[in-house]
Symmetry: C3
Subunit: 333 residues, 3 copies
Amino acid sequence: MVAPATLLWAGWPHVLRAQQFDPQSLDRVFQEARLAEEIINAGGSNLLKGKIVLTLFYEPSTRTRLSFEFATYHLGGRVLSSEAAREFSSAAKGESIEDTIRVVCRYRPAAIVIRHYQEGAAERAASVAADPRTRGPIPVFNAGDGPGQHPTQALLDAYTVWRHRGTLEGATVAVAGDLLYGRTARSLCYLLAKYPGVSVRMVAPHEVQMKEDLLAYLRRHRVPVTQTGDLAAAVRGADVLYVTRIQKERFGADQETYERVRDAFSVTPQILAGLPSHAIVMHPLPRVEGPRSELPTAVDADPRVVIFDQTEAGMYIRMALLRLTCATDRHRH
Amino acid sequence: MVAPATLLWAGWPHVLRAQQFDPQSLDRVFQEARLAEEIINAGGSNLLKGKIVLTLFYEPSTRTRLSFEFATYHLGGRVLSSEAAREFSSAAKGESIEDTIRVVCRYRPAAIVIRHYQEGAAERAASVAADPRTRGPIPVFNAGDGPGQHPTQALLDAYTVWRHRGTLEGATVAVAGDLLYGRTARSLCYLLAKYPGVSVRMVAPHEVQMKEDLLAYLRRHRVPVTQTGDLAAAVRGADVLYVTRIQKERFGADQETYERVRDAFSVTPQILAGLPSHAIVMHPLPRVEGPRSELPTAVDADPRVVIFDQTEAGMYIRMALLRLTCATDRHRH
Amino acid sequence: MVAPATLLWAGWPHVLRAQQFDPQSLDRVFQEARLAEEIINAGGSNLLKGKIVLTLFYEPSTRTRLSFEFATYHLGGRVLSSEAAREFSSAAKGESIEDTIRVVCRYRPAAIVIRHYQEGAAERAASVAADPRTRGPIPVFNAGDGPGQHPTQALLDAYTVWRHRGTLEGATVAVAGDLLYGRTARSLCYLLAKYPGVSVRMVAPHEVQMKEDLLAYLRRHRVPVTQTGDLAAAVRGADVLYVTRIQKERFGADQETYERVRDAFSVTPQILAGLPSHAIVMHPLPRVEGPRSELPTAVDADPRVVIFDQTEAGMYIRMALLRLTCATDRHRH
């Protein structure tokens, strides 16, 4: 049978939703991610030797795909991929994702990384990846399913905080920018709510404030939440400033409002002057370009700006998850 | 020189048309495919170590491409690929397939897998893959050339029958669905005709019946053929039921006829009740989705439905052919 | 630190422009390319074992990409690639190439090969590939940046001459075809001007003659240059005939002129009869097809026509450059 000696997280071995993870399993993943850093610094490993990871992308997401693929290579595995997986389900072919997964499982991949434009696609894939003819369920990684989940992004964000603070407990996190449409800010809040002592500051223009469902969720978990439009005030005393892009297209014809909002939510040196020296500035990337960017390149040299460490952390998280689910030494865990 | 001690099939080492193979060479390939199953179960091999297989796809066919690529990896080889090979022959560039193959042969691939939208493209590729500067002809695999051939699909279908019956001789095969446009049913019939004792039942709505040329071919090879529109009658006593998709687009505006035909050609549990217990149900995939599918998912659990074994068999056939043509140990054969 | 014991070329370790190289560094690269030929003939090597080369293509160029990827594989390295890198900088995402490179450098590639539609893109990429968190600058290879440079093409052309003559010094080179728009002819001239004794014959219809800037450059470097429209006269006594495609689209509605020009610039057997027996005929490929091609397939059998050796030389040049910049044994150099 396929269950590990100790179940690492709900829904194991699949990685479908950030909510699968509790603080204990997150801690296990984060410890493993730190080992991944050491593996990289030692020049790679052979933990996935002979294993093939299949990346099946129904829409392009080069950054995410490459991150998974480098993670696999650094662990000594191999990669096969399709950036045109949408062809499977094209009008002419009309195959369900279930049949596609039933087919590719027969090719004996060690794991399937799936990116899809429809919410729930990864869960549907996982539901059939337990083909009895394979030696166990083939782990399915959700690499983003439309407006739904992107759990490895959520984990890398949480890991970045953990890596710099040693823990997520007690963190004061200012989440700034487009909170209405930004998926990453929401996912991070879901994870933060699992830790004691966390407080969240929602910093958004009133046009794109956080939805009530997440605010209610945080209240249920007794997370103190404040809402403000004043970025300069919000960074004072914060441990983490999580910046997201204000999406121009959300303002339609009203570009005057967009311009005003963008200027009010730019993390300038003046804003950073108010942020504690121990704090970190994060951004899921990509960012808007230019001097009035929400995070201008002019502040990149500030040691608190850890946005590229953050993207690097994504590779470590994926190495950690791949190792925990696919490596032949996984039964040690 | 490059000729093997024993020529395995006509046109060796290329795999261009199903008709290249006779029962003796098919048997050799099928034995090798069974070894491939064992190689997979033993965790892979290094028979293609240091070899690079180039997959050159002028149109997408993710399933076929991945099958070849997994086959290569499981044998320890490496893969380079292009899903955008059409760019070679784009209006602006205007390169002939012959020049493209002359170029890529110089990169020293161990084999070239080609998928093209034009009939005859693979044969043209093979005609120049014997560049004198290489150490021998580079095997070219036809992975489908427009309305032409797709020989590895034909071989995997024949192998699936062989694998379950031990032989193709004496098989009673009911071929159902769209026989007018379906390429796979035609190819399977061509191979079946090479074996003694085979009989074929063509089961199709009159709108999409098998063309006269194939019927004449089967008569010439003294293969008993019946034609019917009655699926329930056709499965009685059959050893193999080979189902293909009724293509909606073939019926144009007359969707009423399409609906009627589709219902008459759905392999329901009632239909399967009439099929012998030792028989198998095959389908080249993809299948139409839904309860009125030609092969509804509701019957997948029937042990006679071997459609995913069939797709898996495709990988074994490709491993067999790659090993026979590229492996450094091939001179043993 | 990352600087090699001896700096091989200006701008090392990046390969951005043909002009970076002087005769001494070219000679070093060419010697290494000859070793690469031996490596291939010996069945490959492991000089890039554990290294990952990232090919990042913002526009398709399958031939160039495959050449780099085969080069990497034959040296024992691994490849990750994107043919859809344009997605990074799509309107919706809007990421600068600098940010993209900052991100992918964190995945720890051994080198980045970049193809871009904008001139200067590779230089911008190189400017940020010296991320302090990596162990040294990550070499950036320019695989063509729009109307700008394609240095490995220039090097493979020069190497082909060197390989056949032993040196570029004293070569009489006839450059024929579309000299106005053809990038490769220009690049080759830039490199030739660095060698003593070289003379150049520009052979073009007056509609597409070489631009004045390059002629002035050659004059400054005291390279004797003649200009003619008479191909038959130009090949007499030449050591190299470098043929390029006459691009139909440059003649707009005036297809009559195009037809006339094309016929006058076709390297027929009659033209070749006037070329010395020791000379070579080169072409950057792809060529126009058909009997009135600028280089008809009918002359391919002439041993002086080395166009496929030339494309093969591209792989050796890329192996040479990859080894010099990425191999762990590079400090020997």
